[in-house]
Symmetry: C2
Subunit: 178 residues, 2 copies
Amino acid sequence: MSLPHAILTALLEKPSSGLELTRRFDKSIGFFWSATHQQIYRELNRLERDGLIHALPQPPSRGQRKEYEVLAAGRAELTRWVAENQDPKPIRDPLLLRLRAATVVGSGGLADELRRHLGLHRQQLALYEEIERHDFPAEEEADENRLQHHILRAGLSLETFWVEWLTRTLADLPPEGG
Amino acid sequence: MSLPHAILTALLEKPSSGLELTRRFDKSIGFFWSATHQQIYRELNRLERDGLIHALPQPPSRGQRKEYEVLAAGRAELTRWVAENQDPKPIRDPLLLRLRAATVVGSGGLADELRRHLGLHRQQLALYEEIERHDFPAEEEADENRLQHHILRAGLSLETFWVEWLTRTLADLPPEGG
DNA sequence: TGGTGCATGTAAGAAGTTACATGATTAC
DNA sequence: GTAATCATGTAACTTCTTACATGCACCA
């Protein structure tokens, strides 16, 4: 149950409408918890029903912006959730699964797909590096910024892992077929 | 749609019953694609209905083992899927999300949880290292084994990442509260 | 005959995905 | 005025999770 808490976090940073949240979930928070607008609208309704957020007074007709704000109960719930015990989920990666399948049915055509993934991960890595240059240029940082920097470093490390691992694995894959 | 293909892979390695598959999904394949027995039984029924696998002749009563085998169509489907274009999913990690939330509501109690995760990732890393020592001791390897070794190395690298990242982040977290 | 483990399932619900629908605003 | 875009939704479906149900085999 992470989506409601992702939304609470985003709304605490800045009260927003559903579409604004959707946009913000395409970057920043969305880098490690993505969501579609359908999920977000549904979840906003639930959070409001449960008294964790409320809509700011606005015309309540259909095509109208509705802006939400976090209530005290919402902040309390988020605080509780941050320190909760939640075991890390095991890795769940379709690409590794496909490599495993390739050991059984052969790796025909897989090299192209690995090269494609390598390109995508290089792009994502470059994006994170740009964000780091832009948002964390200084040497000394406030406590809050340091935590955000650690989060970004997790993204950098994970993309770096994929780039290195794909490069090595590709170098070791037979030229065509298997 | 990875679960059916995970099952096809496991069944190609060795025809099995539902419970046997469930056990094997607790290790090996399950290291990067976990599944419960309920998922597995449902998926076995679908795969049989779709003509990708079939049950070996056995007494078909309720509490009886039912062993499955992959058909030619199943192998063809798996071969197709291995080389298919599938974009990598963005990272989706509740712990990183909780750190992000902590930048807003404070990191109270989070240090304990990070220490707990550090312990769990160290355990998993040790397990992978043991598997590596046991299954890939030699220097020269057959092509098939090399691919499997790469898969294991992905697990090793990912767990190593978590251990290092958690260690650094913990060292930088205020002693209590936030 | 009664408990334990093996083996296969059903049921209900939460979460995520994909396709489509509808009202309001803006730009021409 | 109408087309594009903004904004909020509905509907149907698939996947995953959690809890429970049922039958068989073995052993004491």
